[in-house]
C-alpha cells in the first residue's frame, strides 16, 4: 500500500494515491489534482520548478492529515506532492480522501489543498515567456488558528 504522504520527484499517479486510502467500507473517494497551468496572471508559463524543504514538508503533510482526521474522523486522507521540474498539464499535487460519507470526503480534500498552500514548505519557481519568478504565497505558520479556521470554512459542511 502506498504511503499516505509523500514528497517525490517522480511523476504522480492519482490511482496510487487513491490506493493509499480506499478500503472496502468506503463509498466515496474525492481526489484533487493540482495541475501546471499554461498561464498565470497574464504570463505564458512554459514550465515550473518546485523546490521543497523535504523533511519539513513531509511533516507538514502529516500534520494536515492529522488535522483532517480531527475534523472528519470518517476520512482517510493521502497527499503526494511532486518537486523538481514540471511541464504544463502535469500534476504537482494529488490528494485523495476516502470515506463512507461523500460530504466528509469532499470537505477533507478541500481542506487539505487550502492547508497545503498555507503551511507546507514548498516553493514554485515559475518560468514564463520572457523571464522567471518565484511565487510567494503564505507566510507558513501552522499555529495560526485563523488560517486553519479559514481553510475549515472553505471546506464547507
Amino acid at each position: 500500500m502506498p504511503p499516505p504522504t509523500a514528497i517525490t520527484e517522480l511523476v504522480l499517479d492519482p490511482n496510487r494515491v487513491v490506493d493509499a486510502v480506499s478500503g472496502d467500507g468506503d463509498g466515496a473517494v474525492v481526489t484533487f489534482l493540482g495541475l501546471v497551468r499554461d498561464h498565470n496572471q497574464g504570463r505564458r508559463v512554459t514550465h515550473l520548478i518546485y523546490e521543497a524543504y523535504d523533511a519539513l514538508a513531509l511533516k507538514a503533510l502529516d500534520r494536515i492529515v492529522t488535522e483532517a482526521a480531527e475534523h472528519w474522523p470518517s476520512v482517510r486522507l493521502a497527499i503526494h506532492h511532486r518537486t523538481g521540474r514540471l511541464e504544463i498539464g502535469e500534476a504537482s499535487v494529488v490528494i485523495a480522501a476516502a470515506s463512507a460519507h461523500r460530504a466528509d470526503a469532499f470537505a477533507a480534500s478541500r481542506y487539505a489543498i487550502e492547508r497545503i498552500k498555507q503551511i507546507v514548505p514548498i516553493w514554485k519557481h515559475e518560468y514564463f515567456e520572457g523571464g522567471d519568478t518565484w511565487i510567494e504565497g503564505a507566510t507558513a505558520d501552522p499555529d495560526n488558528e485563523e488560517a486553519r479556521a479559514h481553510a475549515r470554512k472553505l471546506a464547507c459542511p
Partner: protein
C-alpha cells in the same frame, strides 16, 4: 558552536547557496542568527515581515534558542499545491 543554515527559493538565490555553516555563541537565538544573515546579505531584509523559520526540520519561533549542531532553516512565503 557550529550550526547549519538552510535557505530556500529566493533566499537561496540571494545567498548563492542552499546551505551555510556558522559559528554562534552559546546563547544564540534564531532571531539573532537572522540578523546576522541580513548583515551578510542585505537583500534578505525584505523578507523579515513574511519569514518563517524551522529548527531541526520543525517549525519554530524566532525567539527559539539554538543548540550546538542545530539545523536552522529560513523560509520565504510558501507556494506549494
Amino acid at each position: 558552536m557550529p550550526v547549519t543554515i538552510r535557505l530556500f527559493a529566493r533566499l537561496r538565490e540571494v545567498a548563492g547557496t542552499g546551505e551555510l555553516t556558522r559559528e554562534l555563541p552559546a546563547d544564540a537565538t534564531v532571531a539573532g542568527l537572522w540578523d546576522q544573515m541580513v548583515r551578510d546579505y542585505p537583500a534578505m531584509a525584505a523578507y523579515q515581515p513574511s519569514l518563517s523559520c524551522a529548527v531541526n526540520a520543525e517549525y519554530a519561533r524566532f525567539k527559539s534558542p539554538i543548540a550546538d549542531g542545530d539545523e536552522i532553516a529560513f523560509l520565504p512565503p510558501v507556494s506549494g499545491g
